[in-house]
């Protein structure tokens, strides 16, 4: 990979989550949002090597994606009857207003990224689908990177992601942050995804250690994001603390001959 491509990939790692989340606010479908974001990335890969990395890459990517989003919406609208289109427009605007007022009243966390995380970790998805979507959309990993980390062929992982998006779309899972009693259950769902990712990295055997250890770092990163987004959820703080404790014990996990040592047997005096 050339220097510029590595740099663009780094920019993507930084910007993609907020980009997808921001687009999803418009499309209400994280699968479509991700595709539009990927379109923006393709445009970036085409233009940035020529023009240089823009001063504000986030804004550039969002503009590129929104342009395509509006095009897609227009194309969808053009297939409808004119009066139907108008009625939907008005209804949509009214819903927006009502939603904004609802949020203000319930003091629900109004953050697109949080919505994205909750949606990607939705309990309707199989665990492997939640993990794949989260690593892809919230951590900005490529399909290849996720496939390598989970020791599956790239094609298999691509299908996993495709199926997960399809399930969300077909079930009309709304792009929203759960509220009230549902919030607790959904937070648990998110944290279990994060912990599973961490464990995959933590229990990696020596053959694939380096690649899979990075999963621990990805899980820690997710944990930190969640503590920021859900500061009043003690479980989020607890999970982060647990993961950091376990990660710091990594050095003690290898015996003299590289064999794995169970946590119980580790030399606690170290």
């Amino acid at each position: 990979m050339s220097d510029i491509h590595r740099t663009i990939e780094a920019v993507w790692k930084i910007e993609s989550t907020r980009l997808i989340a921001g687009i999803a606010r418009v499309t209400h479908d994280i699968g479509i949002a991700e595709e539009l974001a990927q379109d923006a990335l393709v445009a970036a890969l085409e233009q940035w090597p020529e023009e240089g990395i823009p001063a504000k890459p986030a804004a550039w990517l969002m503009t590129a994606a929104k342009r395509r989003a509006i095009d897609a919406l227009r194309r969808g609208r053009m297939l409808e009857q004119k009066h139907g289109e108008l009625a939907r427009e008005i209804e949509f605007q009214q819903q927006q207003l009502a939603a904004a007022m609802d949020n203000a009243l319930d003091q629900v966390i109004d953050d697109d990224v949080l919505r994205l995380i909750f949606t990607a970790c939705h309990p309707i998805l199989a665990m492997e689908g939640r993990v794949a979507l989260t690593l892809r959309m919230v951590c900005g990993l490529t399909t290849a990177e996720i496939a390598r980390a989970f020791l599956v062929p790239e094609k298999t992982l691509g299908q996993r992601i495709f199926r997960a998006k399809k399930t969300l779309a077909e079930a009309h899972v709304p792009f929203e942050t759960p509220r009230g009693e549902d919030l607790r259950r959904r937070v648990e769902s998110v944290l279990s995804v994060v912990y599973l990712i961490f464990n995959e990295g933590y229990t990696a055997t020596s053959g694939d250690e380096w690649m899979r250890k990075e999963l621990c770092d990805d899980a820690l990163r997710l944990g930190r994001m969640l503590v920021e987004l859900l500061p009043n959820e003690p479980e989020a703080h607890g999970l982060l603390a647990l993961m950091e404790l376990q990660a710091s014990r990594t050095a003690a996990r290898r015996g003299r001959n590289g064999e794995a040592i169970l946590l119980l047997e580790q030399n606690r005096s170290l």
């Binding site: 987004l229 950091e244 990594t250 050095a251």
Partner: protein, 140 residues
Amino acid sequence: MRFMMIVIPKGYETAAPDTTPKPEDVARMMEYNKALQKAGVLLALDGLHPPSSAVRISYTDGKPTLTDGPFAESKEIIGGYWIIQVRSREEAIEWAKRAPMSNNEIIEVRQMFEMSDFPEDVRKAAEGFEDIPNATAAKK
């Protein structure tokens, strides 16, 4: 991978001992710090008192000699740092590019050693190091 983003502010080498950052600079920095935090990459950040209140220790055959700051011959002084955890050197550089630095400030991006970077004999010698409190990623 962990990286330290070291801030080298020109002029800090002659700053008075009671120098503190300006509120508007701090405000500008807080937005960046929040972005690092929200992205889940921030491990630690600190500002350092100027060298005028610092002390340098040099060693001759194990015998230490103290010199009080400021240090006339030092042209580049560390003003502060961030420690971030990212997936690649390029990502660390991209974050550093986004830092709201003024014209007379430089950021140096340095990778931090992980235990896995070291050969077996070095790791053996360092056995137990990772479990010293705060020796690993600081929690902010």
